[in-house]
């Protein structure tokens, strides 16, 4: 493909039909497959009429988009609005109740019991996240919330993270999803959920001793931390910032861990960050040639994170990761460079970086259209949106997504859920999608409220759900498999097969 300079391509996009790359509606649909959670009926035409760049710019200022419908819906998940301290009390109560039940020999899981206690906190967060993806007008924002949730993955199942993850998403991820990368990095680094997940809360300088509190504890408890823990330091460099080939060594990992000693939880609330001076390693350190003089405190961790956020390796690594999400599993250099340049110009402004990637020629290249496979989350939400379905008031969608292999906030490894096609395509995964597609079409899928349009026929299914991309085989199959069915059954079968088709797995 000929490389176009971004300005020219942006101009082309503004001026209408891109004959070589399909109609303006095709382009709008491509954009909605990537920068949104899939088009609803009519969205392609609406965005084409608005203009690609105008839509992107409107989406990059989400606070100006009216989103009352989604917010009102999400308002029903009451635990989202509770403080982390309150949720920790719920967590503690649930644990006490569980232990009491176990002692009494009551092991019945009781699926009929309505979720309560800390289980409800998890389901509220998962279900609200799915509902926002489906309903929000701030589509690109919700996509980026998902991107950063994965980039700065925490595992909700680890100890008190059952109580803390709600606040992690609300106060570390969401306010910074389109802001400065540095702020996002700092917010995640200081959040108790991350400090618990990657163990930095436990990391103390070698030989550091917690000061005695009163007379009750004469001796240092046997389980008290007695040295550094490298876990967060390593993932910070490998995953969050520089990338595994970003130029650091094992010595750098250790130095970073030492710099971040003392970054921990407030022992009283367990829900807030606290810097514990007694646990901090005050000796001099060196990270990739950067000197950190002896005597530093909390400020040297902040300086380190700011330095990492602005490091060329970080720009490249994070830009490549955004491109893997938006453009191709193996992102081409052009869009990565576009992201890096925007990063340099804007001082790490995420909105500017995303804008540059979405307007790069690579994003629009024919070979990068419909070349990515949807994750289960993307599949589920895009199917619902294609049918203009809305979530019901149960937690069925959260559970369904778990069955598809992507339980939200429950990815154990710090890499987060993978973006590559090979990770999500297997025989089992396809069967799960086929069965779900038919279940949704037949209205047998709990969790969704929808009515199949009575005017649906093969032509409208091909144009709508299949976005005009149906292969000859798919068209023939839709016709032959539904020819002898009655109209109602026919609609269900058409929609089910279309949602399960190879075309609909792509985005």
């Amino acid at each position: 493909m000929r490389r176009l300079i971004p300005a020219v391509s942006a101009l082309l996009l503004l001026t209408g039909p891109l004959t070589a790359q399909g109609t303006p509606v095709d382009s709008a649909v491509h954009l909605l497959n990537r920068a949104a959670w899939g088009p609803r009926p009519g969205d392609g035409e609406r965005v084409a009429a608005q203009g690609i760049t105008a839509w992107i710019d409107a989406q990059l200022a989400p606070q100006r988009l009216d989103d009352q419908r989604a917010e009102r819906f999400v308002g029903r998940y009451r635990t989202l609005a509770q403080s982390p301290e309150a949720l920790l009390r719920v967590y503690d109560e649930s644990r006490r109740a569980n232990r009491a039940r176990q002692r009494a020999g009551d092991t019945a899981r009781g699926p009929d019991r309505p979720p309560a206690g800390i289980a409800l906190v998890t389901l509220d967060l998962q279900q609200a996240t799915i509902a926002r993806a489906m309903l929000s007008e701030r589509q690109l924002y919700e996509v980026l919330v998902d991107v950063w949730t994965n980039h700065f993955n925490v595992f909700l199942g680890k100890n008190i993270n059952r109580a803390l993850t709600t606040d992690y998403i609300a106060s570390a991820i969401r306010p910074n999803a389109l802001g400065r990368f540095e702020d996002l990095l700092l917010a995640t680094a200081r959040h108790p959920a991350m400090l618990v997940y990657l163990d930095n809360a436990q990391s103390v300088a070698a030989g550091a001793v917690r000061p005695r509190q009163g007379r009750r504890r004469a001796a240092q408890p046997a389980r008290a931390p007695r040295g550094i823990n490298e876990n967060y330091a390593r993932e910070l460099l490998e995953l969050h910032t520089l990338g595994v080939d970003g130029g650091y060594t094992q010595d750098d990992v250790i130095a970073v861990a030492r710099i971040l000693t003392g970054w921990s939880l407030d022992p009283g609330s367990r829900a807030r960050f606290a810097y514990r001076a007694w646990a901090h390693d005050t000796d001099a350190k060196q990270v990739m040639g950067q000197e950190f003089r002896a005597g530093g405190g909390e400020d040297e961790g902040v300086a380190l994170l700011r330095w990492l956020a602005d490091h060329p390796s970080t720009m490249r690594h994070v830009s490549a990761k955004l491109c893997a999400r938006f453009v191709a599993d193996e992102p081409p250099d052009g869009c990565i460079d576009a992201g890096v340049h925007a990063w340099e110009r804007s001082g790490g402004n995420i909105a500017a970086v995303v804008r540059a990637i979405l307007l790069s020629p690579e994003f629009w290249a024919p070979e990068h259209r419909a070349n990515k496979i949807k994750t289960p989350f993307e599949f589920l939400v895009s199917a619902a949106r294609a049918l203009d379905a809305v979530p019901d008031t149960t937690f069925a969608l959260a559970r369904q997504l778990a069955r598809l292999g992507q339980p939200l906030f429950l990815c154990t490894p710090p890499t987060g859920y993978p973006e590559r096609m090979e990770s999500w395509i297997s025989s089992s995964a396809l069967f799960d999608r086929f069965n779900l597609a038919l279940g949704i079409a037949a209205g047998r899928m709990p969790g969704l409220v929808m009515q199949l349009d009575r005017t649906l026929d093969q032509a409208t299914v091909e144009a709508g759900i299949l976005q005009g991309r149906a292969s000859p085989t798919t068209r023939e199959t839709l016709a032959s498999a539904t020819a002898d069915l009655r109209p109602g059954e026919r609609r269900v079968m058409l929609v089910g097969l279309a949602l399960g088709s190879p075309e609909f797995q792509r985005q």
Partner: protein, 412 residues
């Protein structure tokens, strides 16, 4: 990457006679079944298991010194120097019977301490080379692929099978390989004419309108679905007295046993088991790691008892991306290290401790802190492939690695 489409030629030829393809595939597989097929079961302990607390070098004076709060003090002695973690007691009978081989200080030459990279290298089989697209188990399947004319050795979609809904890196590649979660619900829902209509529609859409792994995953899935339904997997439950742990890992082992008992042609089975990244409060004889090891050992032991005499044709091989620091860290856990312990269990195994023990003397540690790797994982895996599965072309399985049987530890 396009996979070879298997069995197509045969069933299409029969289809031209006007027979029902579903019936015909079953018939083709009926003749394809081989008894006495060798099977390799690979278990990946994801998250880097602490080999030093799994297979405890209690005779090494530096062991207790480095781990004041987490050393295992009541290991089940094996040979006067090494011992099993007490949670691994279910495996002790196999040691005594001489069917459990242990390779300590095994690992990767790559010095990365990244879980992701180290797992990737151990699955691709090419340490330090990130460009490899396929996994070494899949390359074994390719290297030993039966010819299309050899009906006795006809390929089945169950030849390489992983438990779970995602196909792991280690089994990805050009040879057919299957990811399967629940054996009972695998497939398109709906029986009878309606079910067949749906199945045929999806099958033809993916055969004609998809490519690469999307198309091959569908083709293999439908073949496998028909075979599973014909085989009536309910008949192959655990034998009396055998109880698998109710964990994900226990269920995976139980399913692998069913597949083997049903003679579906499984040559490679793969399962993973997590929870080994014990940075904090890992415990000693009891605690976090002890619980994971209990699940792990009970699952393996149940499998061996369940398969009984069939174990003569089966080898279980365990692996983990790296081990953990010799010294405990500040939070009564361990950080990422280098070498760990791997196990070989089953038919043809030479029981005992294998490989060279580098010792825990600080002077002998890798980077001054970690158990040094004395057995390259490719030497161990290569030996198992050659001796158990008859691989003849290790060069293809582990490219850019000069295989040398002189370096093999003699685990089989």
């Amino acid at each position: 990457m396009d996979r070879r489409v298997f069995v197509r030629a045969g069933s299409l030829a029969l289809l031209s006679l006007g027979l029902d393809p579903i019936f015909l595939d079953r018939a083709a597989y009926a003749t394809a079944r081989r008894t006495g097929r060798k099977t390799l079961v690979c278990i990946f302990q994801r998250g880097a298991v602490d080999g030093l607390n799994m297979i405890v070098p209690h005779g090494d004076p530096f062991y207790h010194r480095a781990r004041p709060r987490i050393a295992v003090r009541n290991a089940l002695d094996l040979d006067g120097y090494f011992g099993l973690h007490p949670s691994m007691a279910p495996l002790l009978p196999f040691w005594q019977a001489g069917t459990l081989g242990i390779v300590h200080a095994a690992g990767s030459p790559a010095r990365t301490r990244s879980h992701f990279d180290a797992q990737d290298f151990m699955e691709s089989g090419t340490p330090e080379d990130k460009t490899t697209e396929d996994g070494w188990l899949n390359r074994h399947l390719v290297a030993t692929q039966p010819t299309d004319h050899d009906r006795e050795h006809i390929d089945t979609p169950f030849r390489g099978v992983a438990m779970g809904t995602q196909l792991p890196r280690i089994l990805r590649g050009t040879a057919p390989a299957l990811a399967i979660g629940n054996l009972q619900t695998f497939g398109v829902r709906g029986r009878g004419a309606a079910g067949d209509r749906i199945s045929q529609a999806f099958e033809s859409m993916y055969a004609g309108g998809a490519s690469g792994i999307v198309a091959s995953s569908s083709a293999e899935g439908f073949e496998a679905m028909r075979m599973l339904r014909a085989a009536d997997m309910g008949r192959y439950g655990p034998r009396a007295g055998v109880e698998y742990p109710r964990s994900t890992f226990g269920q995976s082992m139980e399913r692998i046993a069913r597949l083997i008992k049903a003679d579906l042609g499984t040559e490679i089975a793969f399962a993973d088991v997590g929870g080994w990244d014990t940075h904090v409060n890992q415990g000693a004889s009891d605690g976090q790691l002890a619980a994971r090891l209990r699940d792990f050992a009970s699952g393996l032991a149940a499998f061996v008892h369940d398969l009984g005499e069939r174990m003569a044709d089966i080898v279980i091989l365990t692996m983990s991306e790296f081990g953990r620091t010799v010294a405990e860290n500040g939070s009564i856990g361990t950080d990422h290290g280098r070498a760990t312990a791997m196990m070989v269990l089953g038919g043809g195994t030479r029981g005992g401790m294998h490989g060279r023990w580098p010792g825990l003397d600080p002077a002998n540690l890798a980077d001054g802190r970690d158990l040094a790797v004395t057995t390259d994982f490719r030497d161990l895996f290569g030996e198992v492939l050659v001796k158990h599965l008859g691989t003849t072309d290790l060069q293809q399985v582990f490219p850019a690695f000069a295989a040398d049987s002189q370096r093999w530890v003699g685990a089989l």
